[in-house]
């Protein structure tokens, strides 16, 4: 039984890890990546030669006109439903973490995929990365000088699945509903002071504080636009108090009211979710008529089903499963860097961090880590980030700019700091596996790495909840942690700077940090011009490579198994897969 239980725990951690699997970015290998501060172009991103061109960034000129809308013959006939035509159906294995399919309440990874196909946002990312902002329901937008007012002009031809036009009042309703329902995703709207329609097709968004990453946050399907009339009919409301009075959730769990290429056909909780092509879609109709997401939590099961040809995409494979799939001609594997960064925190407060609060010791630790070894432990396309910002993000340094191991340099720094003979320290970490990264194994490797420079580490793994308490309150002197982005913009990583959320967990404040980084932080918090932002983030990364209480250890990897007959798969760190690009 003990083995069973052990295994159960392994499954549990793997399950949690996969269910929470944070997104990955289009990767750039050391050789392929441009050595500039420009976002790594997805040189390795899959090139589906015959995939339909991404239609999610339609230019006003090439957008299909309303008159070109799919003809009635394209519409799915209800009688087609039972026996799914294999050529017209895509089956996807994915651990289901759905809590709700109401776009203003859902904030899970699977709902991110589903809602990308159902609900559309005003702005979006390119098909294969999060490196720039592209128009979607909005044709263009203006930003006020102080960076607090965004005025969006909506495109004229977009319609909902019932044929009604997408207008400014729908956007206002959707966003106010998101804010007033106060659910998990409303955390993205915390900085929104107000939203109003200034015309049939113009929306004005006002922020409380300037936030250059707001557009990247608006890409999240929580900001997807719902058909306000239809949702109101089902008891939906956007008024204050909607957390108590809104009654539309149950309806939205089984029906959809969006403008995207697909509609929700059916959700059987924990069994499957079925999307069906939207017959009235205003854009290019997708090739696949029906997409079935089956809840398969176990990675080994997903692999078996993929090999048997029963599913087209297995989304939760682990890196160690990949080698055995590579010899199978019926299967292809997409591999890319993930966007979770695992890092060490060295408390800047001397009473908590002890020797770890010494800036020279902090740099010595950064030089002592065997980055290649950590990559090998994680496997797949794991990479070493140059700083805390994951490779693939806007302005993030590519991997060849990452620090390299330098044992002699680390020893010298320790000697300069007065620790020529090293010291003893305890490393706290949560005892679990996330995105294939086992904290215990990684900690043992770090223990060996640091021993090479004279730092004797005692390992202290604990239950996640217990560890999290100490971590959140900044009570840990030396610990290992992870950060998965809340939204795909480097602005999210300003949290690691002095006085910000993660900075405070390392007791890094305005009083014990220098002015250089405080100035960079204050500028990056408000700068909206992309070129100027890129420069600021370059300087921040340069600074963090030499200073500060954090040491990035490794960046996660992601692997997706694909049936060789499937075309058009493009990986995106935000929505993982845009099912409207798939074909067979």
């Amino acid at each position: 039984m003990s083995v069973d239980r052990l295994r159960a725990f392994k499954h549990l951690s793997a399950g949690i890890a996969l269910a929470l699997l944070a997104a990955a970015c289009s990767s750039a290998t050391p050789t392929a990546a441009p050595a500039t501060a420009v976002p790594a172009k997805a040189t390795e991103a899959p090139k589906p030669t015959d995939a339909p061109k991404p239609t999610d960034a339609p230019k006003p000129t090439d957008a299909p006109k309303a008159t070109e809308a799919p003809k009635a013959t394209d519409a799915p006939k209800p009688t087609d439903a039972p026996a799914a035509n294999k050529a017209n159906t895509v089956v996807i294995d994915r651990a289901e973490d759905t809590v709700s399919l109401d776009p203003d309440r859902a904030f899970e990874t699977l709902t991110g995929i589903l809602h990308k196909a159902i609900y559309q946002t005003l702005v979006t990312f390119p098909a294969d990365s999060a490196s720039e902002i592209k128009p979607m329901l909005a044709e263009k937008w203006d930003i006020s000088k102080d960076g607090k007012i965004y005025t969006f002009s909506l495109r004229k031809d977009a319609t909902f699945s019932d044929g009604a036009a997408v207008t400014a009042k729908d956007v206002v309703f959707s966003w106010n509903r998101l804010i007033n329902i106060k659910g998990n995703p409303s955390s993205l709207a915390g900085n929104i002071a107000g939203v109003k329609a200034t015309g049939d097709l113009t929306v004005q968004l006002t922020l409380t504080n300037t936030d250059p990453s707001i557009l990247a946050q608006l890409v999240n399907t929580a900001f997807g636009v719902v058909n306000s009339e239809a949702v109101k009919k089902q008891g939906g409301t956007d008024a204050a108090g909607a957390d108590k009075t809104d009654k539309a959730e149950q309806w939205l769990n089984q029906h959809s009211e969006g403008s995207g290429p697909y509609m929700l056909e059916k959700w059987e909780p924990k069994v499957q979710t079925i999307l069906v092509r939207n017959p009235k879609y205003w854009g290019t109709p997708p090739a696949i008529e029906r997409v079935i997401f089956r809840n398969v939590a176990e990675a080994a099961t997903q692999k078996l089903q993929l090999e048997a040809g029963e599913v087209d995409i297995a989304m939760d494979l682990t890196a160690d499963q990949v080698p055995s799939l590579k010899s199978n001609s019926k299967v292809s594997v997409f591999e890319s860097a993930g966007d979770t960064v695992f890092f060490l925190l060295m408390n800047a407060d001397k009473t908590i961090g002890g020797p770890m609060s010494n800036p020279k010791v902090q740099q010595a630790v950064r030089l002592a880590i065997d980055y290649e070894g950590q990559k090998a432990l994680l496997g797949g396309k794991a990479s070493t980030p140059a700083s805390i910002i994951p490779i693939g993000f806007f302005a993030a340094y590519p991997e060849d700019k990452a620090l390299k191991r330098d044992v002699d340099g680390a020893k010298k720094l320790l000697a300069d700091a007065g620790f020529a003979k090293g010291f003893d320290i305890e490393l706290a970490y949560p005892d679990f596996t996330y995105s294939g990264f086992n904290f215990g194994t990684a900690a043992q490797k770090l223990q060996a790495d640091l021993a090479d420079v004279g730092i004797k580490v005692t390992l202290k793994g604990s239950e996640v909840g217990v560890w999290l308490d100490g971590y959140r309150q900044g009570k840990l002197g030396f610990c290992m942690s992870l950060w998965g982005p809340d939204f795909r913009d480097p602005g999210n990583y300003l949290e690691f700077l002095p006085g910000k959320k993660v900075g405070e967990r390392a007791m890094w404040s305005n009083t014990n940090s220098d002015k250089t980084i405080q100035d960079l932080r204050d500028k990056a918090l408000v700068e909206t011009d992309p070129a100027a932002r890129a420069k600021l983030f370059a300087s921040i990364q340069d600074y963090l490579q030499q200073n500060g209480p954090f040491a990035p250890v490794v960046q996660s990897a992601v692997q997706v198994g694909l049936n060789a007959g499937l075309k058009g798969f493009v990986y995106n760190p935000q929505w993982f897969v845009d099912v409207s690009l798939l074909s067979k």
Partner: protein
């Protein structure tokens, strides 16, 4: 009359047990050094007091613990099991949705266990120390000791992935549509609807998980049947029966088996309850969305109402099977009826 009195007493006694279970489940799930906020809200949402307050108030977590428990019991007495955080619907609906899958799997496993286990247990006892006996003992030992996850993956690999002779994970192929919902057991519903292709597909999907889930039970039943039969076969009245010139078949099936049944029934009842409660690993590997998967999710996300609901359900199953087993004793052993 005796049976009725017995029944009434047992049912009355089970009420405090159920109440105790709710209290235990409540205390244990609140002793875990973790917070449902951490398990259910994102990093960012957690640091937003408005969202945390709305979450606490929606799920009643803003009230003191004793009040939370009392209001749970109050609702329970009115037949309301509360609402699940993870599915956002009433727990009773979740149980209704997920229990049939587990019942279907557990029943087919126990059926397999009884057919194979009892048959081979008898054969083994009758031909003690023969090659058949050794073979049965080896297989039952393997059945009892092999880890479920390993067996599941091996069987899937060989019979589904390589040979392709049985259906794989899930209850139906993706191309199949489940029959109209009546009992929730796909096989039964398919028969009711006369959808024979669905029935065939569902049975094919049942084979491997039933084998895996039933492996331990089959081994256990075979071992208990064998030893119980050996005990009985050595008794004087069996020798007397043989002396009367009764056929081997009559001696074994009529005279010995009935007396050997008491421990066998006990172990079958116990196994059935265990099967219903212990399907987590099998359900996970076979993507079988039953009560095991539900319990797993509820406990990892500290979904209190769901944890309580599942605990109550499992307690009920144990109480009910124990009751049925005791009633079977009455039927099997005349001495029970008079004492």
């Amino acid at each position: 009359m005796l049976i009725l009195r017995f029944l009434a007493r047992r049912i009355l006694l089970s009420l405090p047990i159920l109440l105790g279970i709710t209290l235990l489940a409540f205390i244990i799930s609140h002793l875990v050094p973790s917070d449902p906020i951490v398990a259910n809200l994102g990093q960012r949402a957690m640091s937003d007091p408005t969202i945390v307050a709305a979450f606490r108030s929606e799920w009643g977590l803003d009230k003191p613990l004793p009040e939370q428990y009392l209001s749970y019991v109050g609702n329970l007495l009115q037949g309301n099991l509360g609402k699940s955080i993870k599915s956002r619907r009433p727990v009773i609906e979740d149980l209704k949705a997920f229990l049939p899958a587990t019942i279907e799997l557990a029943l087919s496993s126990i059926l397999l266990g009884i057919l194979v286990g009892v048959t081979f247990g008898i054969l083994s006892a009758v031909s003690r120390n023969s090659w058949l006996d050794h073979l049965v003992r080896i297989f039952s030992l393997i059945g009892v000791s092999v880890p479920v996850f390993w067996l599941a993956l091996i069987l899937l690999f060989v019979f589904y992935s390589r040979l392709g002779i049985v259906a794989g994970p899930g209850r139906l192929d993706p191309s199949m549509t489940a029959p109209p919902l009546v009992t929730g057991l796909i096989t039964v519903d398919a028969i009711l609807a006369g959808q024979w292709d669905v029935l065939k597909n569902a049975l094919s999907h049942l084979i491997l998980p039933s084998l895996v889930l039933g492996s331990y039970t089959t081994g256990l039943i075979a071992r208990v049947t064998r030893s119980s039969m050996l005990d009985v076969l050595g008794l004087d009245y069996i020798r007397a029966a043989r002396a009367k010139g009764l056929s081997q078949r009559a001696v074994v099936m009529k005279h010995a088996l009935r007396n050997a049944m008491v421990p066998i029934v006990t172990v079958i009842g116990f196994s059935l309850a265990n099967l219903l409660a212990g399907t987590v690993l099998t359900e996970r590997i076979f993507a079988w969305q039953g009560i095991g998967s539900y319990a797993f999710l509820a406990s990892t996300s500290l979904d209190f109402q769901a944890i309580m609901g599942v605990s109550l359900l499992i307690a009920l199953v144990f109480i009910a099977t124990n009751l049925v087993v005791d009633l079977l004793y009455f039927a099997l052993d005349p001495r029970m009826r008079t004492s």
